[in-house]
C-alpha cells in the first residue's frame, strides 16, 4: 500500500502551512506569513523548483538572511520540489500594512504595539509623528513617541501615561 505524501494532494496549502511555521527571527511570536513578507510562491508544474519571493521589512534588516535560510530549509523539508529558491524582491515595497490582523494581535500579545495603518495617514512625511499608538499593555491612547528609532530598525520607542510603561511599537512604513 502506497501512502501518499501529505504534501502531494494540495501542495499550495502544504507550502503556506509550512511557511506559517517559520517565525520572525527578532519577534518569534509572529510568522513570516503574518508579517506579510512572503511575495509570490511558484511551484513548477514538473515540481523541479519551488520559488518564493521574500520582501524585506527594512533594506538593512540583519534578520533578512536568517529568515531566507529558515524559509529555504523549512520548504526543502517538505520534499515537494527538487530545488527551493528564496529570492529577495524590492519590485513592490513591503509596507507595514501587509501585517495581517492575526499578526497584529500576536505583536500586541507579546508587548509590541502594531503599526498604525498607513492609509490613515495623509503623507509619508507624517509617518511617525501624528498617529495615536495605543499601549499594548493597558490599551491607553495617552501615549507619546519617545524615539522614532528603537533597538531594531523596524521598531520605535513610546511611553504610556496610563500605565507609566515604556513600550515598543512596530514602525508604520
Amino acid at each position: 500500500m502506497v501512502i501518499p505524501h501529505p504534501a502531494a494532494a494540495d501542495p499550495d496549502a502544504a507550502i503556506w502551512a509550512a511557511l506559517a511555521e517559520v517565525p520572525d527571527p527578532e519577534i518569534p511570536t509572529i510568522s513570516v506569513v503574518d508579517l506579510g513578507v512572503i511575495g509570490s510562491v511558484e511551484l513548477a508544474e514538473d515540481r523541479s523548483a519551488l520559488r518564493v519571493e521574500l520582501m524585506p521589512t527594512f533594506i538593512g534588516c540583519p534578520a533578512t538572511e536568517v529568515m531566507r535560510q529558515a524559509i529555504g530549509e523549512r520548504l526543502a523539508a517538505l520534499g515537494i520540489a527538487e530545488r527551493v529558491e528564496v529570492e529577495l524582491t524590492f519590485a513592490e515595497p513591503w509596507t507595514s500594512d501587509r501585517i495581517t490582523a492575526a499578526g497584529r494581535e500576536q505583536l500586541r500579545a507579546s508587548g509590541f504595539a502594531p503599526p498604525p495603518h498607513l492609509r490613515e495617514l495623509t503623507a509619508l512625511g507624517e509617518l511617525p509623528t501624528l498617529t495615536v499608538v495605543p499601549c499594548p499593555y493597558c490599551g491607553s491612547r495617552q501615549t507619546t513617541l519617545e524615539n522614532a528609532f528603537g533597538p531594531t530598525l523596524c521598531r520605535a520607542i513610546y511611553h504610556c501615561a496610563g500605565c507609566r510603561q515604556p513600550f515598543e511599537a512596530f514602525k508604520p512604513i
Binding site: 524582491t89 524590492f90 519590485a91 524615539n147 528609532f149 530598525l153
Partner: protein, 256 residues
C-alpha cells in the same frame, strides 16, 4: 539588465557606485557616534540610521555586482581609497554634533530629491530600491530636521556652531550633484529621469525653505558642484578607509 549597451551599462555602474558609496561612507562616519552621542536616545537613533545607510549601501553594491559580475564585498572593501566615488561631503570626520547634524541635513535633503527621481527610473532594480528607501529615509529627514531646529533655537553657542558647520560644508554638499561622465546616457534611457542640475535646483529650494524657517541664510556658492566632487579624497577619509577595511584586509579572501 545585463542586456544593456556597454556605454549605458558603464553609466549605470557609475551611478550605482556613487549611490552606494555616499551611503556607505556616511554610515561609517555616523556609526562612530555609537556610545558617545549627546544622549542615550540619540545614541540609539544615530546608530539605527547608520545601520539603515549601510544596509542601503549593501543593496546598491549587490545591484552593481549583479550588473558587472563582481562580488559586492569586494566592491565595498576591496578598493583603494582613490576608487571610492562618494561626494566630497563625506570626506570629513564626524567632528562635533552640530557638524554631524548639518551634514546629515544637507545630505538627507539631497538624498530625498535624488530618490524621488530614481523611484521613476526606467531601470526596474533601481526604481524598486529607491521606492523602498524613500519610506525609510523619510524617518531620517524628519529626525535631522528636528535637530536642525533644536540647535538653531538652542542658544548662541549651538546656533553659531550650526552656522559655522553649514558654511564649512556647503561647497562639498554641492558635490552630491557633481556631474557624472555617463549622465547623458542615463538621461537618454530614462534611467535617471531628471538631470543632476535639475535635482540640484530642487535641493536648493528645499534647503532654502528649511533654513529660512529657522532664520538662517544658505551659504552662497557661485561655483556650483565641483567637477572633482566625487574623486577628491582627504586624509580623513583615508583614515576611515583604514578602519572599515581593516577586517577585510587582515585575511584576504576569508569568508565568515
Amino acid at each position: 539588465m545585463t542586456d544593456l549597451e556597454p556605454a549605458t551599462r558603464d553609466a549605470v555602474a557609475e551611478l550605482l557606485l556613487t549611490l552606494a558609496d555616499d551611503e556607505f561612507v556616511l554610515g561609517f562616519w555616523d556609526s562612530e557616534w555609537t556610545g558617545i552621542a549627546p544622549m542615550l536616545e540619540e545614541d540609539v537613533a544615530t546608530s539605527s540610521i547608520a545601520q539603515d545607510e549601510i544596509g542601503h549601501a549593501r543593496a546598491w553594491f549587490e545591484l552593481l555586482a549583479e550588473l558587472t559580475d563582481d562580488d559586492p564585498d569586494r566592491i565595498a572593501f576591496g578598493r583603494a581609497p582613490e576608487a571610492y566615488r562618494h561626494a566630497a561631503l563625506m570626506n570629513h570626520p564626524r567632528t562635533d554634533w552640530a557638524f554631524t547634524v548639518a551634514r546629515r541635513f544637507l545630505y538627507e535633503t539631497a538624498d530625498a530629491v535624488r530618490l524621488e527621481a530614481l523611484a521613476g527610473s526606467s531601470h526596474a532594480g533601481i526604481a524598486g530600491l529607491a521606492t523602498k528607501m524613500r519610506r525609510e529615509e523619510t524617518y531620517h529627514l524628519l529626525h535631522w530636521n528636528a535637530w536642525m531646529r533644536r540647535l538653531a533655537e538652542g542658544g548662541p553657542d549651538t546656533r553659531t556652531r550650526l552656522k559655522d558647520a553649514l558654511a564649512r560644508l556647503w561647497s562639498d554638499a554641492e558635490s552630491v550633484f557633481s556631474p557624472l561622465a555617463g549622465e547623458p546616457a542615463l538621461l537618454a534611457g530614462g534611467i535617471l529621469p531628471e538631470s543632476l542640475a535639475d535635482l540640484r535646483g530642487r535641493w536648493i529650494e528645499r534647503v532654502d525653505a528649511e533654513l529660512g524657517s529657522l532664520g538662517l541664510a544658505r551659504p552662497t556658492s557661485e561655483a556650483g558642484p565641483p567637477s572633482d566632487g566625487r574623486t577628491a579624497r582627504t586624509d580623513d577619509f583615508r583614515w576611515l578607509w583604514g578602519e572599515f577595511t581593516s577586517v577585510a584586509r587582515s585575511e584576504a579572501g576569508a569568508t565568515w
